[in-house]
Point group: C2
Chain length 331, copies 2
């Protein structure tokens, strides 16, 4: 049997897990997720503060996305379960607690995730971009510097232009992640928070050489909406420019949604000062722009509260997976 | 291939998991653990108070004991890991948190444990004696009544004679547990805390008829030491008399250790007013007494603190398993 093409998805967070889930359903590729480790908010942030381990939330989401087999649904439920009560437990994801325990039990975070992958029968690989827990340092146009990825979700800090993100301290790329990038047939960056989930991966030592030396097609998936506290007023081209600047390699393909987003959802987002990313992209000889319907089906009747709306608008992992699968075949 | 003989181990707690681990290593029997659900102390007690679910600690220990296959050690580590820090996490076993989440996710506690058994590849069955979380009610000779199993571990309440334990509220035996008892080839009760872990199982409706109608050999394993707050000054015969009274069936076999317990360990126990159970048993035509070395190897050099000593003295699961295996063959 021919080996399955190797697809590496780089990011962290929900966007990455959506793409992984779509690709897993197709069943045509050997999947690897590479995940940023600068997360400092929520359940992950609390655990990080108390234990000092590699942040676990994005790793957990990718593990859940790659669960498979007869017990796929049960394993997803275990990893994604969130305690709604319990002193000190409320708000924690069970998967985060499991990964924290494994980081305590095993000397290296990479080994801890490997054990989790075996115990929970993950079909693919999940790697942290580095084994060192790093903090994201954000520099704004007005000279302000803030430390901590969770601040990128704070609307009070919104509307400001980010001129640079860095990580602190310096960190080396996780060897397995580098190897996956170098030997991939196709690499997908995004969708996901540009400054919080995607670009931090590019900042570890060894990332850019790995990406540059890889023969893989390099695909960037543009976000659907701007994020007020990160990418306010940035067009698709502005997103792409940042990707090129941080990766030091042009994507071969950019995937952008051109389907209509329901008005009720746009209104809910507008209240949070978040708007569709304007598509001003142009295909060049180096970079092909692929447009299409990549929107997940949204039941407008469900949109009752602004909070709900935000979590309803998603890329459709299956639609993205179909395009990626064609790209890897045509390689 | 002939079906493996069915061995059912009834109890809860460490004693039960020691026997299960020994039997599992032999690999000759189809194993079922049946576990009391009146536990109200420690991590289990905290979760029980906050979530109101079936207590999870003893179920977790039995699941860990029955982990098998390539990942046996990893799965045992995950289930038995105890958080040493973390606000609200400290003292909780990860396996307890996993079972609590599953009890929340699935409507019936039985189903929750079944899912845990599948996800963690358990070789055998673990059943609660009932799906209803019950409290243990203890009546002492002086007329005092106390509610809550954890009080049976309180040395301040030690030295008093227990005249009766009951459960509250009334509860029906879990159907799968009843079926296992009825169709077993051999049933092992103990070792374990007599009033806290063993006898509570006998108090659910349907237990005694199941045991009485079962064609299984019924084996009772006598504890090594008295427990100051439960079985102070009780001989082996006094233990057996209670078992007969609560089960309404005489054990066919009683297993009792006759090997020498190291003096340094006896001294440590004596400080807690705990002493070897005096063997005053006599074989009868109904009940055969099997004596032998059932002591786990204890490194005396490890005995530095009294607390450590207590947890070092154990039955040897393999030695018990060998006898049980002979009994089930000779059936």
């Amino acid at each position: 049997m021919a080996k399955k093409p190797k697809v590496v998805v780089i990011g962290g967070g929900t966007g990455t897990s959506v793409v992984l889930t779509g690709l897993k359903a197709l069943g045509k590729n050997d999947l690897t997720a590479i995940v940023a480790v600068s997360d400092s908010g929520g359940s992950t942030g609390r655990l990080r503060d108390e234990f000092g381990f590699l942040p676990v939330g994005d790793l957990r989401q990718c593990l859940a996305a790659l669960a498979h087999g007869e017990l796929e649904q049960e394993i997803r439920k275990v990893l994604l379960y969130r305690f709604a009560k319990g002193s000190g437990l409320k708000g924690h994801n069970l998967g985060n607690l499991i990964l924290t325990a494994l980081e305590d039990l095993y000397a290296s975070p990479g080994k801890a995730i490997e054990v989790a992958s075996q115990v929970f029968r993950i079909n693919g690989q999940v790697y942290p971009i580095t084994e060192k827990a790093v903090q994201l340092v954000t520099e704004y146009a007005d000279g302000t510097v803030r430390i901590g990825e969770h601040l990128l979700d704070d609307p009070k800090l919104g509307g400001q232009k980010i001129i640079r993100v860095k990580i602190s301290p310096h960190a080396q790329i996780y060897q397995q992640a580098a190897k996956s990038i170098k030997t991939a047939d196709l690499i997908v960056l995004g969708p996901g928070d540009l400054y919080a989930s995607l670009l931090p991966n590019t900042l570890v030592r060894g990332f850019k050489p790995a990406l540059q030396s890889s023969k893989a097609k390099f695909v960037y998936v543009v976000n659907l909406m701007t994020h007020y506290s990160q990418t306010h007023e940035m067009t698709a081209q502005a997103h792409l420019d940042e990707v090129v600047k941080y990766c030091q390699r042009r994507p071969d393909i950019v995937i952008v949604n051109d389907n209509h987003i329901p008005k009720s959802i746009l209104q809910a987002y507008a209240k949070q000062k978040e708007y569709p990313v304007i598509d001003d992209l142009v295909s060049t000889k180096d970079t092909e722009v692929i447009r299409g319907d990549f929107l997940s089906a949204v039941k407008v009747s469900q949109v009752k509260h602004d909070q709900v709306a935000r979590s309803l608008l998603r890329h459709d992992g299956k639609k993205i997976a179909r395009v990626i699968s064609q790209l890897v075949k045509g390689k």
